[in-house]
């Protein structure tokens, strides 16, 4: 399972996001140190990475809280917690769900693998 955290240094949320992501990976039996952390530094980098804000977390390429029609750019990303609060970081429950989905996808026999994806909100 490939877990990536992309961040922009102008937004202070990536430290907390990384800690919460690592907690979820640890709880679910994955290596918390395997997270690939990458800094996005320019608008051009943001465009080429499809980076819509910091932090962006992808598991096997799938965003943990996919956004439709969001412009790329160097900005802080808005997440919605499951209780409706706005937050700079994803809900740990969404992270957990994405990890479980990716784990299940990897375990499924070839040809029967569902595509790993984040929550449908």
């Amino acid at each position: 399972m490939r877990v990536e955290l992309l961040f922009w240094a102008g937004c202070p949320s990536h430290g907390k996001a990384l800690r919460e992501l690592q907690d979820v990976l640890r709880e679910s039996g994955h290596d918390p140190e395997a997270v690939i952390v990458r800094e996005v530094k320019t608008d051009d980098d943001a465009a080429s990475e499809g980076f819509v804000g910091s932090p962006t977390i992808r598991i096997d390429g799938a965003d943990v809280q996919p956004l439709a029609d969001e412009p790329t750019g160097l900005t802080c990303r808005i997440y919605h917690r499951r209780d409706g609060r706005i937050s700079p970081t994803p809900d740990p429950a969404d992270l957990r769900e994405a990890v479980l989905a990716a784990t299940a996808a990897a375990a499924a026999p070839r040809g029967e693998r569902p595509r790993a994806a984040g929550p449908s909100r």
Binding site: C11, P12, S13, G73, T75, I78, R85, S87, P88
Partner: protein
């Protein structure tokens, strides 16, 4: 970084109806640099509006100022600001546009949000975050409330200054 203890820079900025609003002598005024696109500003927003409502009857005013470069961050455009006001997000608090970013610079504002409390003599008496945890609504903008309570009782706020937390202000190139 501090302006605490110094005279608050005067300003005159348009609100979302184009009416000029200025820092006026009041019992106390809360000046909040904020914006539409920052999750920290949005997470704290309801707490700040609750303070505006609850302290208004004690003579405290609030002005919200959006200083961000809306060319690069279109969610901070005048139209988007107006839409939030019309949706009732600001509960009567004027939402001002600092298009030149001069006011933000004069306050040395760093983040959205960045909160300043100004007393009736025009002196900055508190600067920083609304409270200790953007992620906990129960924190209730306690640092801001504490600063206002102190001023209203004739005392010095404690703390007088905290580290502002949020998205960096989006300066124009």
């Amino acid at each position: 970084m501090t302006l605490v203890g110094e005279r608050a820079p005067a300003f005159e900025l348009p609100d979302t109806d184009g009416q000029l609003q200025r820092l006026a002598p009041d019992v106390a005024t809360v000046v909040v640099f904020t914006c539409n696109h920052c999750p920290y500003a949005l997470a704290w927003h309801k707490r700040l509006m609750a303070v505006a409502r609850e302290y208004a009857e004690r003579g405290v005013g609030m002005l919200a100022i959006n200083p961000n470069d809306s060319e690069r961050y279109p969610r901070d455009s005048e139209a988007q600001m107006k839409a939030r006001v019309q949706a009732g997000d600001f509960d009567g608090v004027p939402y001002l546009r600092d298009a030149s970013q001069q006011v933000a610079r004069s306050y040395d504002a760093r983040t959205t949000p960045d909160v300043f409390v100004i007393d009736g003599q025009g002196t900055v008496r508190y600067r920083g975050a609304p409270d200790a945890d953007y992620d906990d609504p129960a924190a209730g903008a306690q640092w801001l409330r504490s600063a206002l309570d102190a001023l209203l009782e004739g005392n010095d706020p404690d703390p007088r200054e905290t580290e502002p937390v949020g998205c960096s202000i989006k300066w124009k190139p």
